[in-house]
Amino acid sequence: METLKEQKKETKSPTTIRMSGAEAIIHCLLAEGVDLLYGYPGGAIMPVYDELYKFQDKLTHVLTRHEQGATHAAQGYARVTGKVGVAMATSGPGATNLVTGLADAQIDSTPMVCITGQVPRHLLGSDAFQETDIIGISTPVTKWNHQVTNVEEIPEVMAKAFYIARSGRPGPVLVDITKNAQFDELDFSYEHCTGVRSYKPVPKPSMEAIKAAAELINNAKKPFIVFGQGVIIGEAEEELKALVEKAGIPAAWTVLGLSAMDTDHPLNVGMVGMHGNYGPNILTNECDLLIAIGMRFDDRVTGSLDTYAKQAKVIHFEIDPAEVNKNVPADVAVLGNSKETLSLLLPKINENSHEEWHNQFKEKYKIEYDAVIKEELHPTKNGLTMAEVIKEINIATGHKAVIVSDVGQHQMIACRYAKFKQSKSNITSGGLGTMGFALPAAIGAKMGAMDREVVAIIGDGGYQMTIQELGTIFQNKTPVKIVVLNNGHLGMVRQWQELFFESRYASTVMSNPNFVKIAEGYDITAKKVTERKDLKATVEEMIASKDAYFLEVAVEKEDNVFPMIPSGASVSDIRLK
């Protein structure tokens, strides 16, 4: 593959230093601005760890308790900072343990570089100890991957890895480096990669498409914006807000788009999708123009495609041409980076307000408030609800916290009720739905934003999938706040069993250990709340704490998340109960 760097090589010869491949890897990381990485050592990556030891004043390596934890921590770091997260592992099981994190980063467009050690070149293909074909295994879950068997390749491949991970639609890249290439020496020099000839990260926006989009927007009577993570990755938050305000268009978020716009903005009308808000879902099928910005029409957003927004014209702002017309046909596709395309669009947009249309969202919200939200936030029953816990966290943090949620009922409740003022603040496993994501991701998020409050919201099921990362918090004294909403069930699956499998609770009842004692074993201050009267004060105490804090809240065992669009149903068929 030809890169631009190769071209330059012919014209200038930079100064070189003789060093080992392992040391070269460290210099590559430093050159890419990496100062923090997550990982776990082992045989085939030991030469690199030896160099990490020597460079510990410049590069902090955080030892997680499992390689999966390293990937999710790197993801949390990447999502909160917008920078590339880095994870490292050895060959064989070390490498295969990265796969879930890679798949998660791939589907949620998270920039991450994973470096794995590999058996020496002469042993490749021989079923050597801890040999696994991680290139073959990781191919479907990486944006790019490459095996380095020759030390000379290291600088170029590392430069390319970072360039590919962060450019265009970001994603995970895996570089597998054989042990001989780590030991061998090269004359090291480093040049950043600025282009790969077969790869076009950002399509050039077409002015015709922009004009066509503007015309549709200016003529629409009932326009509706759905914004996704493309706004956050493209850092187009201001442009989105300007568009929404200038044209007076109600806007709703996807799970990953959440926090791109102040949740209290009057035109921010809530969440779309399976457990989204009533108005945005129902009115998707009543708008005359659907403006999708940086989102990919996931099935959890659209429900049945046969009945999704058929009445509306569709404008799709998207950086990845493979997403256009994949699920929902676009009348106008505006390709490009969202910041650039929205900036080009804005001057062509007429000032407008769609008060009557906006009122329909307010009316629908009132229906949802009376049927669902009121009881969730201000329960009249004895048992605690997940939503009231989120509400207390909102109040205690002043809407300024980074909320890292796991997967399941608590995740949907967090996405529905958490309040955000700042972008890059909602970190969750959206596309892959990886239980166990939140605890390690919160560690990475905190390390990426030490000045911010980071609160992990986790269910009792997901918590136990990566609970070993309490060890990472203990060792690094990472001041994350951990909230386990314990309903003694795998709640979301139990909800489906109740609704669609006649309440046959197959393997969804959890017998849980004493979580407080476990946290205390790691020297983390821990409390359990079982009654409403203690909730507010304990949440306040947790947020006020300068150190890590564990809070378990015993919530109602069999609460369901509503509204809900049953799997495969139309957005119009959203159920309030």
Binding site: M1, E2, Q7, K143, N145, R197, S198, N325
Partner: protein, 176 residues
């Protein structure tokens, strides 16, 4: 949507692992690759994949975009049979004595426009280039006499329209 035959051409860098990455896109959608050919192309250091699938046009469009999205793919296209000139090649290994014992075989060789590639004491080899159905017909005609070995290549295709690969590559260098 109706299933049809589509030929997909992929221009790419010549890299280890890319075939795996491309075939994975078909695997994900449970689509069988009916034929596959990889070779060098008209441009130096650029490889060309020619892939034949039987599926609907919407899926083909999506697949082509997902192939093109791969870092090492320069450009991917899909074509109907009308858009391309295409051929396949086949080799037939047949026992030599049949050439003399079965007069019909000589007629088949003549009528099918195939060539005798080699003749030895025990066997001879016929090469046939043509459309799939022509090769199938020849196979059916020879089968009753006994075919020792048979192999057919993937589809080879060139498009009637121009392929702007060189322009794409030149644009890349100019943009930078």
């Amino acid at each position: 949507m109706e299933k049809q035959w589509f030929t997909i051409s992929v221009y790419s860098e010549n890299n280890v692992g890319l075939l795996n990455r491309i075939s994975g896109i078909f695997l994900k959608r449970h689509i069988n690759i009916e034929s596959l050919n990889v070779s060098k192309s008209e441009i130096e250091n650029v490889s060309k994949f020619t892939i034949v699938v039987n599926t609907n046009e919407d899926w083909t469009k999506n697949i082509v975009r997902q192939i093109e999205k791969q870092i090492e793919v320069i450009k991917a296209f899909y074509h109907n049979d009308d858009d391309i000139i295409y051929q396949e090649s086949a080799l037939f290994k047949i026992a030599s004595h049949l050439l003399f014992d079965e007069r019909q075989i000589q007629n088949i060789i003549k009528e099918s426009n195939s060539q005798i590639v080699t003749v030895s004491r025990d066997f001879f080899v016929l090469a046939k280039t043509g459309r799939r159905h022509e090769i199938d017909e020849m196979h059916d005609e020879l089968e009753p006499f006994g075919i020792m070995q048979f192999v057919r290549s993937g589809r080879l295709a060139v498009t009637k329209a121009k392929m702007p690969i060189t322009t794409i590559l030149n644009d890349f260098y100019q943009d930078k």
